[in-house]
Symmetry: C2
Subunit: 260 residues, 2 copies
């Protein structure tokens, strides 16, 4: 197979549409990846306001018209072109599937939320290692003890992703990722995970654990699984999300989300 | 009277609540000013999505609960504490008033939208003159030929504010204002106003004209009057906005909206 990093977005999407299931970190390098949360139209205002009030974990990149399954930055089919999906009824996950054609509803509004995979190429370029890319595993993600600012019926905890960073490169990692506020931006926390209510780094709530080596600090960034944590907490009648780490590969360039 | 620049936000708001009508550029230096648009709850999703799709002219700083008249960043009364308001019925302006107590409705959602007055102190500090502050007049604002990306029932043209900048300082003005994306950020256009469909700089659509001197270029920034232009175009049954240039003085620090 072609190096996944060198695939064009439509090529990556075709593979996922064909049934390939894999975390997408490192795929289609230079192209922005996005989290998905789809909610019925009558829940869309509460969610959009929730995202506006919590821009660090929930930066909105694009929103579909009700029932539509493409957006200006995603020229594919949001029902089939992600590697895997989670389906929620009343906040309970009822399925993890590779397409959601049989679950689709005409009143669904899809929100594409920025993903920190977007700045990983910039981190590598600046000499900051990215452990889950080295290991070929999914990024570790954790529920935290920090609550999002609620909006209407929507509330829940902040979710974070974690990357171990050598102490001497933490400042570089902060500086680089600060330039990408639309894909979570600067870290929300550096160091002791207990401050975030995370008891054991080896047991992430989503994704897979990675080794934190001697001389490295765990660095935590806002994570676009936060909307799904809000779904679990807030229990809307229906929702669809991506499987954590299994993102929508969009047609937007990473550079489009970089600030000076 | 105390120098308006040195007033605290609550002091400025008390004066406006007392009936003082004046443009607010230069007031309460260091504190963020905001545009106001209030719409019935059943129009709130379309407007919030409109703002999400047009972040340059419509950066959302905060949103009230339906019927509420304060927000976490505005510890005052949005119905009385701005110098002047415009009231719209079916997109037609029906009143310009100093408070909207008699027009208030329990279903109104207030959106506070970033205002470029916020970065004027930073421009001055960097040696970039701000003509309307020197002249003690309202900033000139213009409807343009650029259309916002619509959302639901909401559509309309981009509105811009204009500041003349000496040619040698244009780069500085761009650099400084780029750091404030939440209050319109970098200019949308530098130079020839006809490119934006503006025929005559001396006849702004809102505010007052300013002199553009030899060696200066007109520089245009996104403007938070854009929501009111959308109201005029889209004709929702009811809306309230601030009178252009007569802003909400918030309790948020300018520095809170500066990116690295």
């Amino acid at each position: 197979m072609t190096d996944p990093a060198r695939l064009a977005p439509r090529e990556a999407r075709a593979l996922f549409r064909g049934g390939l299931v894999t975390p997408t970190a490192g795929w289609a390098s230079g192209w922005t990846q996005a989290n998905l949360i789809a909610l019925p139209k009558d829940r869309a205002y509460d969610f959009l306001l929730f995202a506006q009030r919590n821009p660090r974990p929930c930066p909105v990149l694009d929103v579909t018209e009700p029932g539509a399954h493409a957006t200006p930055i995603f020229d594919g089919d949001l029902r089939t072109d992600l590697p895997a999906y989670r389906v929620y009824v009343d906040g309970e996950q009822v399925a993890e599937v590779t397409d959601v054609l049989s679950y689709w509803r005409a009143d669904l509004v899809c929100f594409l939320i920025g993903c920190s995979f977007t700045f990983e190429a910039a981190l590598l370029e600046a000499g900051v290692p990215v452990r889950h890319l080295e290991a070929g595993t999914n990024v570790p993600m954790y529920l935290t003890n920090r609550q999002c600012r609620p909006a209407g019926d929507m509330s829940g905890p902040e979710v974070v992703s974690m990357r171990p960073v050598p102490a001497g490169l933490v400042a570089t990692a902060v500086r680089i990722t600060s330039r990408y506020p639309a894909v979570h931006g600067a870290p929300v926390h550096v160091g002791d995970p207990r401050v975030l209510g995370i008891a054991d780094l080896d047991r992430p709530d989503f994704g897979e654990p990675v080794e934190v080596r001697e001389g490295e600090l765990p660095v935590f960034w806002g994570c676009g699984v936060t909307p799904q944590a809000a779904v679990m907490r807030s229990r809307p009648p229906f929702a669809i999300g991506h499987a954590p780490g299994h993102m929508a590969v969009t047609d937007a360039r990473d550079s489009a989300y970089q600030v000076p």
